[in-house]
Structure formats: structure tokens, C-alpha cells
Symmetry: D4
Subunit: 251 residues, 8 copies
Amino acid sequence: MLEEILRQVQAGNLSVSEAKENLATYENLGFAKVDHHRKNRQGFPEVVYGEGKTKEQIICIIQAIRSKGQNVLVTRISKEKANYVLREYPEFSYNETAQILFWKKKTSKNDSYQGYIAIVCAGTSDLRVAEEAAVTAEALGSEVRRFYDVGVAGIHRLFDNIEQIQQATVSVVVAGMEGALPSVVGGLVSHPVIAVPTSVGYGANFNGLSALLTMLNSCASGISVVNIDNGFGAAYNAVLIDHLVKGDKSE
Amino acid sequence: MLEEILRQVQAGNLSVSEAKENLATYENLGFAKVDHHRKNRQGFPEVVYGEGKTKEQIICIIQAIRSKGQNVLVTRISKEKANYVLREYPEFSYNETAQILFWKKKTSKNDSYQGYIAIVCAGTSDLRVAEEAAVTAEALGSEVRRFYDVGVAGIHRLFDNIEQIQQATVSVVVAGMEGALPSVVGGLVSHPVIAVPTSVGYGANFNGLSALLTMLNSCASGISVVNIDNGFGAAYNAVLIDHLVKGDKSE
Amino acid sequence: MLEEILRQVQAGNLSVSEAKENLATYENLGFAKVDHHRKNRQGFPEVVYGEGKTKEQIICIIQAIRSKGQNVLVTRISKEKANYVLREYPEFSYNETAQILFWKKKTSKNDSYQGYIAIVCAGTSDLRVAEEAAVTAEALGSEVRRFYDVGVAGIHRLFDNIEQIQQATVSVVVAGMEGALPSVVGGLVSHPVIAVPTSVGYGANFNGLSALLTMLNSCASGISVVNIDNGFGAAYNAVLIDHLVKGDKSE
Amino acid sequence: MLEEILRQVQAGNLSVSEAKENLATYENLGFAKVDHHRKNRQGFPEVVYGEGKTKEQIICIIQAIRSKGQNVLVTRISKEKANYVLREYPEFSYNETAQILFWKKKTSKNDSYQGYIAIVCAGTSDLRVAEEAAVTAEALGSEVRRFYDVGVAGIHRLFDNIEQIQQATVSVVVAGMEGALPSVVGGLVSHPVIAVPTSVGYGANFNGLSALLTMLNSCASGISVVNIDNGFGAAYNAVLIDHLVKGDKSE
Amino acid sequence: MLEEILRQVQAGNLSVSEAKENLATYENLGFAKVDHHRKNRQGFPEVVYGEGKTKEQIICIIQAIRSKGQNVLVTRISKEKANYVLREYPEFSYNETAQILFWKKKTSKNDSYQGYIAIVCAGTSDLRVAEEAAVTAEALGSEVRRFYDVGVAGIHRLFDNIEQIQQATVSVVVAGMEGALPSVVGGLVSHPVIAVPTSVGYGANFNGLSALLTMLNSCASGISVVNIDNGFGAAYNAVLIDHLVKGDKSE
Amino acid sequence: MLEEILRQVQAGNLSVSEAKENLATYENLGFAKVDHHRKNRQGFPEVVYGEGKTKEQIICIIQAIRSKGQNVLVTRISKEKANYVLREYPEFSYNETAQILFWKKKTSKNDSYQGYIAIVCAGTSDLRVAEEAAVTAEALGSEVRRFYDVGVAGIHRLFDNIEQIQQATVSVVVAGMEGALPSVVGGLVSHPVIAVPTSVGYGANFNGLSALLTMLNSCASGISVVNIDNGFGAAYNAVLIDHLVKGDKSE
Amino acid sequence: MLEEILRQVQAGNLSVSEAKENLATYENLGFAKVDHHRKNRQGFPEVVYGEGKTKEQIICIIQAIRSKGQNVLVTRISKEKANYVLREYPEFSYNETAQILFWKKKTSKNDSYQGYIAIVCAGTSDLRVAEEAAVTAEALGSEVRRFYDVGVAGIHRLFDNIEQIQQATVSVVVAGMEGALPSVVGGLVSHPVIAVPTSVGYGANFNGLSALLTMLNSCASGISVVNIDNGFGAAYNAVLIDHLVKGDKSE
Amino acid sequence: MLEEILRQVQAGNLSVSEAKENLATYENLGFAKVDHHRKNRQGFPEVVYGEGKTKEQIICIIQAIRSKGQNVLVTRISKEKANYVLREYPEFSYNETAQILFWKKKTSKNDSYQGYIAIVCAGTSDLRVAEEAAVTAEALGSEVRRFYDVGVAGIHRLFDNIEQIQQATVSVVVAGMEGALPSVVGGLVSHPVIAVPTSVGYGANFNGLSALLTMLNSCASGISVVNIDNGFGAAYNAVLIDHLVKGDKSE
């Protein structure tokens, strides 16, 4: 691209100031291009982290995104703030458990692709994080199947579902307390497992540290870990993998 | 017992100094009796922790124990120190993996009792701790069955053995790395599980902290935990339970 | 059981689809059997952890349990939620200190068995945890004796009660602050001691970490540890041991 | 598969004992199948962790693997142990920096697939871990490109290489000290980034804890983390993703 | 100074009691002199830390400072307390984001000096700390330029501003989450960087510990670190350096 | 004293330079006086910490101390370094367990004072620290009585000695593992207890952290704590108290 | 005492049941005697820790103590609870900063003794803890002098008071933030220093951990440490020392 | 610069490929320029961290640096490796305590500038780190004055030197154990203080964590902190400040 611009300057087709602007754009484009890649492929230009932002700030960012005709995804947004936004944008969806607000353009489905992301969750108290992952993945355009309350203390519940989990493209495994579920799932599937420790527990759980360490030390291969309670981050990773497999890496 | 002594003093059958000695003995007996209970029931008057003791000190303590005609159990004793003792006491047994030296009087078996302690171990690197548990339990007079290398990363290995583990009186479950095995076993058996975290691992394992926290936070009921690498302590607990069930709490 | 099913298929007594269902059941039964064992022996099919559940969810789970005619045990349930349940099920009992709600079928007592669980507690501020243990054990069908406020700072209080503690089948020892009591009790009794650190304390207590480490490092043998404030877990362990000794492992 | 076996029993084509063995196999196959999946797709039946194993044990495991005609991969194996193995198996390759020993069957390349894994590494002292990742990925059959010594303290070195990194299927980013590199790379690429903290550093680095926390808290999306120094684990994850994209998920 | 006083005593120009007072003053002056240095050079005799002080106490301290005709700077003061003070001193300024209240005498500017402090900030949630730094530096008499929301996850935003940052005398770099920004800035500038970790983040962030460790372990040279959220402290350091360069070290 | 010097300057009895030197001396004396107090009362001008010093450095410091005719106390000095010093100063004493080298002038005993310091020690592995305390106290001129191997796991051993411990002026209580002994002693005596955690233990002991936290959280009153393994520091404290009681605070 | 009782039984002056009761009393007296010692010497039979107790419980304990005609000391009691007690016992004193409620019998002063406890405090935010120490010491009958706001950041304030501090019998030194004050005081005085870390600070202070570690690692001799914010505990220690010196150890 | 290149392309004075190379260089120069700034001003193009590098690697890097005629600075290099280098480059200097090897071109001194860096050090065991700082600063061209062994436990040693320290441009204050010295110095000087915690200490020092936290929490203003034992980093910061003041920021 640099060469092209230079040639046009040489040929007199581009003035110095135009070239300068283009190259500046190029410089910015160098990094903004990445953002465009992301937007084109994933359907979302930027994800808004709602925690610590006022409802006015959130509306303001949403307007900027909508003005470019793009999809919207706001995570960690309370019901009260979401309702405020919904009055303005009644076409948006809000999932209260996941604390996610989003709006997505209708897209034609890639019919041939059958892949899905398995969201596997140990206990009912980990649901909030699991739903943050599930709704994020759906909002970012992936197919999701939920396998909830299949923790290791009653491992037969996992085995009743293991074949469906094995056929997923990638699994997001959410667990609090001792966080042992990803190790067991990781030993039973042959696709990547993204483990999400939750802060569910008490005492020597130390707000999720226990589950985090468990997952980092997993003796099963194929497991990587995100921050405590970071359902969004795990889903984002899973969606990147799902999109790679779907094959729309076609730019 | 106090009343009896006082009555004998009243009756003139016991002099004041004799009574004083008896009562002193009583006081000491009050606590020493516990020691006798322990010795009678478990067959070992005192367990010697070999680490940090010289071979001369160990010999010296063994002589004191033997002079009372009692059984001997030395834990965490290196091969070199053990060989030094074995030259003096060739009838002793030494288990190098477990680092345990012991000698036991022949005892008639309680034939009717079929109970055993299951020693369950996640990986081959946890063997040292598992063997410390197994040999300790055997030296203290319990039946032991070993279920090694049945970690959660290949959980079918556990399921191939689960029925035998379920029939044990009590399980000692040894695991390093993420330490998830006790949670899985705890969900499959209906007897007490004593969990032993090991220091096997690296990085965010923090010398066994990861496995320790996992076990303390287990969402399965019926699990209690001992110190990192404390195979001896877990076995001691298991033997106490095994003896209670065996029914020789008959003093 | 597998062989039997196959023989019936061979003999034409069982259709393929029936056999398939049976074997599926078998697979599930393989793990669900464990649950049945547990229910039969302990009188409770499942313990409900009340924290983080709404009163509606709790009622819902209770209905499911009651519909199978089984006993009910809900831990960590606030007075307000408990009152909500009690309006529906006035025959239930609620213990406010222990924060436990339960209902138990009348059962004929095993008359010959004299064993009991000693619940030993260091200070009055540890009472909540001690009562969680005591009420859990009682609800699960064990005899309990309470020895409260016998902490090491005034150790004569412990000695006034030590003989009764020594005669228990198993002790649950609850302590906050420095958590030294289990070590002292462990040195005086010859049965298993289950130690419960509490989060009582301030400053360098670090919400129970101090007591937890103390108990894990105890130089007395026969001590195992559960999570901070986990009175329920300690009692559950103690009841498993008590039931083993009681001898109703008769299936 | 279960139905098929039952039908054959019904039809008399399979005796009860044959069916029993098959179903046992089935049960095992249920989990072993996973292993087969893995082996077929990845070309390695099992990875041997060399640390803590004697050279005799390693030879013994290798013989078992070779007897099934399969590829071999041994990680964390010292030069001295590797030389011992190489005398027996001179056709094996040993990479001293990566401490990896491996042998791979010649395989026809999937010509149409151009994807590769970018191994990005902050400093020269992180090389050992980066090479463990690179050699693992190559041994498991993926194409690898190395981008070493591109740490954030001289960020122009990264920018000189960023386009090539952006075109990879997945990146493994290795960094010690403050571990900031994955955040920067994560903000510049649109594929999954697997971050590997290393134990390189001193003082408040706490043996890699600093880099680990940095990576878990990354404000860039699309990053997941493995244990400190776990180059193998990161590569294994990357290879799983690479294989998914390559499309040989065709069983 | 001591010699001078002694000579005056010798010469009879100073009585013993006067000399004693002077020397006492000297002793105090020895340390108070430092305070005077500070006041003269920086324009503020003492900074008031508002947190934990009542509004009455703050008014009281302000009166003492004002009675000496000096500038006032109160940090970490809530809007409510500030309003209370502003009713009494309407000429004061309050910055709500920075939570700083101050009053400064008009001073003639050092015209020839063009230096400024760059306040660089990773994300919008770190703003409170960045503003505490910026307003402190301004109140203490330095020129400030703000470069906000230039975190490493979208590093092109930093590069758009890097030349202006490079021309500063000293940079204060504020970042939460993984805290990687100071390392990147440190590698691009040739002046001192004072890094401020913030407590912004969740989970394995541990209230700013993650960012703190990152900054302490930075592989870029020229970075020093202050306490978590200590915007004031960083600014104070930067102002000391700015004043040194400005050259008014002329006493 | 300042006034006196000034008057002599005024009177011409002291030149300015003499006064200046005196006042400098005064200033130094102001702090050095403390040192003199210490030396006079405690019999040792300065304690030498031997760890990390070469034998030549140690000899050099000893010569400086001896040249002023004062007593010598070197702690944490290995046998090999001590022997080097003993060749030069054969009149010195070396205690190998305590790793202390010292020399003391003959002093007339304070006959009327019967007080002593009780050095109480939990286990034989804590001996090194207990002896560091005991020998330090003796070298600093206090009477010491040793009560070793009286840990809480066999608490009757403590009770056999408690009366003698109760009659001490102050107790130094040394314990590793869970460090519970000071709490028990503190509840039984009415004098100050100085607790010394040792690094004896393994696993969740974390090199003495467990015992340290236990002692800081003791529910018994009258206990203060020194650093892990700091037998010297505890003894120094005890000697200060012992000297206060002895009444030779007579300067 | 035991001998005396036995002789009286022998002589028929004491019945068996009387002797038994006496010896039981003796046994209890063995430990309760300690309590009596404490009460007689210190003027308080038991200190009530008010935190976590209801006002009704506090009244109840106070009544028990008053019924024996003894002094009362309640620590960590809120103004609201204290007012409740004061309505019943208007003769009690309440110190709101210290959060202490107490009542003391008039006692004749030991006129000849001039000793006092120095309560030294770094900053105004540490006042609550310093006052807890000061009021406790006064309530337990010691003379106290307060030296507040003399922290190391303006060390001349300390030097203005150092002589008075040096003349104390014992110092309690209270400091938050970095907790450096005890080290400086410890280097300037020749009596025992009891250091109290406070939880005052933020960020890397970790609720007082920073100050606690500083004090445990002090390079000055003669310093021992109590728990974070434990002003009561430090004062209790200081009073024990003060009483020893006062010489009323005369029972 | 970009505009200039474009104009020359337009004017035909620069071919497209030349322009491309220049702009590539420009891009690189954009960041490499920083490096040049650094080199020109500080006299060292790059500092070599010797730890973990072989002597051959070090020689190799030195050759590259020397080939550009630049100064050389190698930190953390052992005597043995240094001797290897010195055989090749006998004109280099090696400081064994500091473990630094360097070579510097003769430079004309900036005569008018009188500023110096004060290296202040608490104890003799912190010398290694203090010397790393001192020698680094000298090698980078700054004047240095050493104030060693002036720790807070004998604070008069600090006061004897405080005036000289006060007149420095910037202070580097090195301390281990409790690390209190920077707080005291920070309260006495009006220039920036760069604090260096060292790993000197034992027990609750946790390898320098204690001193690190102390310094981060300092209540004195004007203190910033570097990593544990990072004498080099502190000196580098100090030199940046010193150079700013010296005024040779003249490019």
C-alpha cells in the first residue's frame, strides 16, 4: 500500500498533502485496520463494559456505535441502566442473568456450518457467569449449547451429556468452588477448552483464587484460562475460534 | 479413681505419700492414659518423625521404644539413615518410596472384619506421598488397597476401579497439580474421604497450595483435608476410623 | 447386572429398546446408586445450600424432595427465607443460630448404640459455626454433645470436660482466632478429630486463614480439616464416621 | 454402537460373554475413543512429561508407544537423559533449548492449508519456554513461525513483525518480567492469543506471579492464559485450534 | 549557622537565653527548614489528606495554614465536605473527579521555562487517579498535559500522541487492570516515568496488586512506582523533578 | 547541658571551635547516650549479627569492641567462623546449637534478685531457636531456665512444669508447626510472654507463616511476638524486662 | 496443698466427699489460681471484648463481674451499646475514641513508684488504636503519657519528645501506613517497645499487613509486636511489665 | 520529515524504492530515534543484563556495541565471567561488590554543574545493591556520594550526614529488613527520593516483600519505588533526573 501511494506521488496523481494524509491514515489504518477486520468478521465494532459507567455515558457510546450502523454489545449492565437504554432503543434485547444488553443486525446464516460452542457450567450459582458467556457468544454470532449444573460432585450428570459436548467446536467451562470441572471435561474432549473460574465459594476460596489456581494447574491438556468471573472474555475467545473454523477468514 | 484412693487413705490402707504419688501418677496418668489407649489400640506407642533427626538420635529413640517391647514406626527417614538402623535391627522393614522404617509384633488377625482403606492416587509423581499413606496404614495394622494413577485427566481409569473403592471403609485420596481427584471420588462414594494435596506441580501450583485450596473448597460432601504431602497424617486418620469400625474400641 | 440384561435379550425376554433403556439406566444407576446408598443410610437425599438461592427456588427444591417422601435439610438459610418456608411447611424446624431448616421422618432408634459426636467450640463468637455442625449432625440422625467456650486461653475449662469428649466416637472442634484448640484436643483423645477454622478474628487473622493454617499444621495426629466456617461439612464427615461405627452399613 | 451390539446378541450372532467384553470395551472405548480421536488427529497418542522420571522409565514408556507404531513426544527431558534414549533410538530428534525429544512418522502435507502458529517471545531469557512451545507445535504437526525478542520495552521490534503475526491462525505469546506483551499483541491481531507467563525475573516478580496476573487481567480481548512456563500447554492449545481450522476434523 | 550563633554569644551580641532559643530553633529549624524549603519552592506548606477527617477538622487545619498566608491543597475530600469548606472560602477551587480542593496565590510565571508534566492514562476508569495527579501537579505550580484513554489494548491511540509525551520533562503514567502502559511508554521516552497502578479491575486483579507488580517488574528502564491509586504521590514526585529542572533550586 | 556550654562561651572559658565540637558531641551524644545507657545497663555495647559477614569482618568488629574493654556477643555465627575467632580469642565461649559466640566480663551477682527467664520450647526441632534465645539471655546477664519439648500435642508435659514457668519474671515461648504453645502458656501465667514462631514445618506451614499468624492472633492476653526464628530478639526483649525488674535502672 | 488435704483425710478431719470437692477445686484452683493472681494484681477479673456481643449480653456479663465486687473493662464497645450500659451503671466511664467502657474501684496509689507507660503514635488517623491502648493501661491501673502525631515523615516532632519517652518504663508505639516509627523509637530508648501496627492506609498497605511486616522485621532490638489494631493487647503487655517493675508481684 | 521525503519523490530526487526504505527507516527511526536520544544523552546505547547469559554471549554483545564505538555497561555479571571479558578487553573496569563491568569514553566534564546523586544505604548487608546503584550512576556519567550504614536503628548516624544528603539533586535510598530509611530521609530532604527495597532479612521479611511494602506505603511525600534489589533501576532513574537538571537535554 505504501508503495502504491509513493508511485502515485511520483506519477503526479497524488499531491504531497494528499499523500501525507493517506500515509497518516495508513499509519492509523495500520492499527484501525485491525479494528475493521474485527468488526467485519465478528459483527461488533467494540464491546462496551457497563460497570462503572453512568447510563448517560452508555447511551452516548451506543449512539456513536449506532451512527456507524453497527451492532451493539454492552456487558455488566444493571437492569436499571438497561431499562434506561431500552426506553430509547426498544429494539434492543436485555438478558438480566447475563447482565448483557445487545442489538444485532439480521444476518444470513452460514448454512453449511454446523459447529457450536458448548457452555458447560458446574453449579447453579455459577449461572451468572455462564450466561454472560452464552449470551456474549450468541450476540457475537455463534451457535451455543448450554450444559448446566454438571459439576464433578455428581459426575454422572456430566456423562449424560458428554457426547454432545464432545461434538462442539470449542467448550467454555465455568466453575466456582474448587473449579475441577475443566480438568474432567478437558480429559474427555479433543477440542480447545476455555476455563472460567468464578468467585462462587467462601472461606479458603479467596474469591475465586482457588478455582483459578485449579484451572491453571490442570493436568489435562488443551485447557487455557481467563480471569475470575470473565464469562465475556472466554466467550470472545471461543467465538474467535468458532469463526476461524467457520472459515469466514476470507479477507 | 480419685474417690478410691481417698477412701484407701481414709481407711489407712494408703499412706499420705503413697496417695500423693498415686494422685500425681493419676494426674500424669490422666494424660498418659490417653497415650496408653493409643498404644493398645493402634499397636504403636509413638511415631518417630525422621526428618531433621540424626541417625544416632533415631537409634536412641528406637531403643527406648523397644525396651518397652513396643512396635516401631519411623517416617521420613532416608535410605542412608534407614540402613544404619537396619544394621542394628535387621528384623525391621524399610520401604524406600514411602521413606518409612517399621517393625511390628505378629498379631492375630480379626478374621471377621473385611474392611480396608482405599489409597487412591492421581498420578505417578504423587506416589511417594501415597506410599507414605499406604505403608503407614499397614504398619498401624489396617488392610490397604492401592488405586494408583487414576487422575481426572483420564477419568475412565477411575471408573474401572470405582466399585472396589466404593466398598472401602474409608478412602485416602492423594493428588497434586490441580488436586481435583478427591472431589470426583467424594461424589462417588458414601464413606469418609481424607484428601492429601501434594506439592507436585510447578508455576501457579505454589508448592501444593493449588491442590490444597481445591480440596478445602470441594463441592462434594464427606471430604476432610490434611497438610500438603502429609500422607502419614491422612493414613493415621483413616486408621482411627478403620479401628472404630473394626470395633476394638473395647477398653 | 449387565450379564443378566444381556441374557434376557439373548433369551428374547427383553427387546433391544428395553435393554437399551435398562443399560442407560444402568449407566446412570451406576452413579445414582451411590446417591441411593447415601439417602438410605443417612436419611437425606440431598442437602440444600440456601445461600444465594431465592425463597421461591428453595420452596421449589423442597417440593421435589418431599414428593419422593424424603427428609429435608437446608443450610445457610436466613430467618426471613425460613419463615417463608415455614408458612408452607409448619412441621419443619428452624434453628436460627445454625441457620438451618430441616424436617426428619420419625425413625426407630438403634438402641444398642451409645456413640455420640462431640462438638467442641473455643469461644462464644464461634457459636454460629458450632451450631451449624451440631444441628446438621442431629438432623442427619446422630447423637450430639456440645462442649462450648473451652478455648485454650483458659484451658482448665477444657479439662473439666475432657473425659466426656474422650468417650465420643468422633469430635468436631471449632475455633477461630489462632485456632489452637484442635491441636490440644487431638493430643488428648484417641478418636478422629475434624477441625473447623472459623473466620472469627481481625487483623492478621485474614478472615480465618490464621486458624486454617494452624489446623493444617497441627503437630497432633488424627486431625483433618475442612474449609473456613464449614460447620456443615465437618458434621457431615463426623456423621459418616458415626454411621460406619453404628454398623448400619448393612446393604 | 450399543444398539448394534444388542441386536447381534438378539440375533444370536454374539454370545453373552462376547457382548459383555464388547460393552466393557464400549465403556472403556467411551473414554478411550477420545484418546483415539486425539491420536488420529494429532499424530501423538500420549505426551510424556520427562521431569521426575528416570531414563529407564522413559525408555520403557517409549517402547510401549512405539510398539503401537505411534509418534513420540517427551517434554522437559534433560540432555543427559535424552542422550541415553538417542543411543537406543538414533532416529529421534532432541532440541536442547526446548528440552524436547520427539519422533514423527513422515506424513503427507495438507498442501492447500497455509496456516501457521506465531510463537511470539518478549526477551531472550524467555527463549526456553518459547522453544518448548515451538518445538511442541512442530512435533504435533503444525507450521510455526518464530518472532523472538520483541518485548514492549522496545516496541518497534514488534511493529516490524506485526503483519506476519497478524496473518497467523493463532499466536502463542511468551513473556516474563511484567508480561505485558500479550496485551499489546492482543490489541493488534484478530485471532486467538494464548499467553504464557514465564518465571523470568526477580524480586516482586515472585517467580512468574507478576506476569501471570498481568495476562489474566489483560484489557485486550481474545487472550487466554496457561500456567507459568507452560510452553507445552500453550502449544497444545494452539495446535488444537490449528487442526480445527485445517479442517481434518473429518472423523 | 551554629558557628555564627556561637560567635555572637562570644562577642556578647547574643544572650545565652537568646542563643539557646536560636539553637533550639536551629534544631527545629534543622527539620523545619526542610519544610520551609518545601513551602518556598512548591508554594504549599503542607498537603491535607482529607480522607478520615471531619469537615470541622479540615476547616480548622485550613485556618491554620491560611493564617500564615499560605496556599492550600486538600486531597481525597468528598463533594459534601468540599461544599462545606467552599461556603467559608468561596475563592477556593474544587475538582470533583480528582476530589481535590485547593487555593493558590497568583504567581508570576517563569516565562522562559517550557517544560510540562505528561499525565498519561490507560482507560476511562482510571480517570479519578489521573485527575488526582493532574490537579495536584497544577495546584503545586507545574504545567500539565493530559493524554487519556491511550491503553495498550489499542496502542495506536498512544502512538498518535507519543511525540508530545516524549517532549515532556517527566511522565506520570496511570493504569489499572494489567498495568502494562508504563512499560510501553518507558520504552518510548527518555525522561523519568512515574508509574501509578490503580485498583481498577476485578478477579485476579486483587485490587490493584496485578498492576502494581507489573510496574515494579517493568523491563523498561527509567520507571519508578508509587502506591496503588496514589495519584497525588506520583504528581508530587513529578513536581519535584519539574522544579529541579525549572532551576529554582536557587536558595 | 546546652546552657552550660553557652555560658562557658559567654564567659570566654570555651572557644567557638571547642564549643562547636562539644555541641557536635552533644548532638551525637544525644543519640550515642542511648547507646551508653544500653552498654552500661546490659553489659554489651553492640550485638554482632554474624550471618553474611566474613570471619575477617567479624574479627575486625570484635577488636573494635574489645579495644573499649567491652563484652562481645556474636549471633548466627557458624562453627567454622567461630573456630577462626577462637584461635585469636581462646577465652571466648561458643555454643554450636545456638550458633552464638560470646565473652563476658566477670560481674558481681545481684544476690537479692531471684528472677529468671523461662525459655519454653514446643518440640526438639525448635531447639536451635530456643537455644539462641537462652544463650543470648545468659550472655546478656540474665538467669535462664529451660523447659523444652512441652508442645501442646502432649500437653501433660507442659503441666508437669507449669508451676516453675509461672514463677518466672518473663517467658520466651518458642514453637514451630502450628505454634499453639504460647496461647496455652499465656493462659496459665501472669507475666509477659514473648512468642517466637519458628520455620519448623512443611507444606501449608509456609516457612513459619502459620506459627507467626497463630501467635499474632492468640486469644490469650499478655503475648507479644517477634520475627520467625528470632530467638535473639525475644531474649533481648526478655532481658530488658528482667533488668527493669532487677532494678538496676539506676543511672 | 494436696498433701495438706490428704493429711486431713487421714486424720479424719475431712470426709471423702469433702476432700474430693476440695481436690476438684484444687484441680480447678490449679488454673483458676492463675486467674486470681491476675485479678488481684491487675484489678480486673476479666476483660470483655464488646464486638459481636449484644448490649444485653454485655449487661449480663457485667452483672456477673460486679456481683463479685470487681472492676469492669469492656473494649470495642460502640457508643450506642455503651449508652445502654451507662443508663444502668451511671458511675461507669466511656471513652468514645478508644471505644472502651470501664469502672474501677478507688485504689490507694503506690506513691514511691514514678514509672509510666509512653503511648507513642505516628499519625492522627492511628488515634483510635492509640487511645484503646492508653485507656486500657489507665483502666488497668498504670500511669500513661501520650506522645501523638510524631511519625517519621516529620521526625523532628519525635525528637522534641524523645527524652520523656526515654524515661518511660515501657513504650507502646502505634503506627499505620509503613509503620516505621517503632524502629526509630526502638533505636533511641533502652526499655521494651511494644509495637502496634494499624490498618490505616490504602492500596499496597493491605489493611495493615505492610505495617505489621515492617515491625516484625525491625532492625532495632527490643521490639515485640501484637496483632493489627490490637491497642488493648499492647497495653495489657505494657501493664504486665509496669506491674513487674512496680514490684507488687508480692503474693 | 515525512513531508520532506514525499516532496523529494514528487521532485524526482528520490526513487520509490529509496523513499520506501527511508520511510521504513522513518518508521523504525520513529522508535529507534528514542534509542539514539538515549545513547547521545546518557552515553550508553544499551545496558547488558549479565545474569543468565553465558560469557560467550556477553562477549558477542559487547563486540556489537564496541563496533559502534559506544560505551559498555554490563550488570549482574559474576567475577568469573568478568575476568573472561577482561582478558579480551583489559581496559574495562570491574566492580566485584556491584557485579558491574563497564567501559566509558573519556568525556569533558560539565564544569559548572555541581550536582550529585546521594546513595544512602541502611546496613552493611545492603551494600551489594547500593554499590550496583552507585557504580551504575557513575558509569552513566553522574557524580555520586555514598552515605552507607545510616539505618534507622541508630538514627544519629543519618543526622551526622543529613546536610550533605539534603544538598544532592536526587537520593537513592537502599534498605532491607523493615525498609524504613526512605521514609525518614524523605521527610528530611526536598528532592526526589528513589527507594530500593533489598531482599536482606529473614522470616517475615519474605525476601524483600516487607521492605517493598514499607516503601510503597511511605507517609513521606516525594518517594517512588523500584523492584526489590534493583539498584541499577534506581540509579538509572536518578541519572535521568540528574541529566535533566544538568541541562544537556539540548538536542
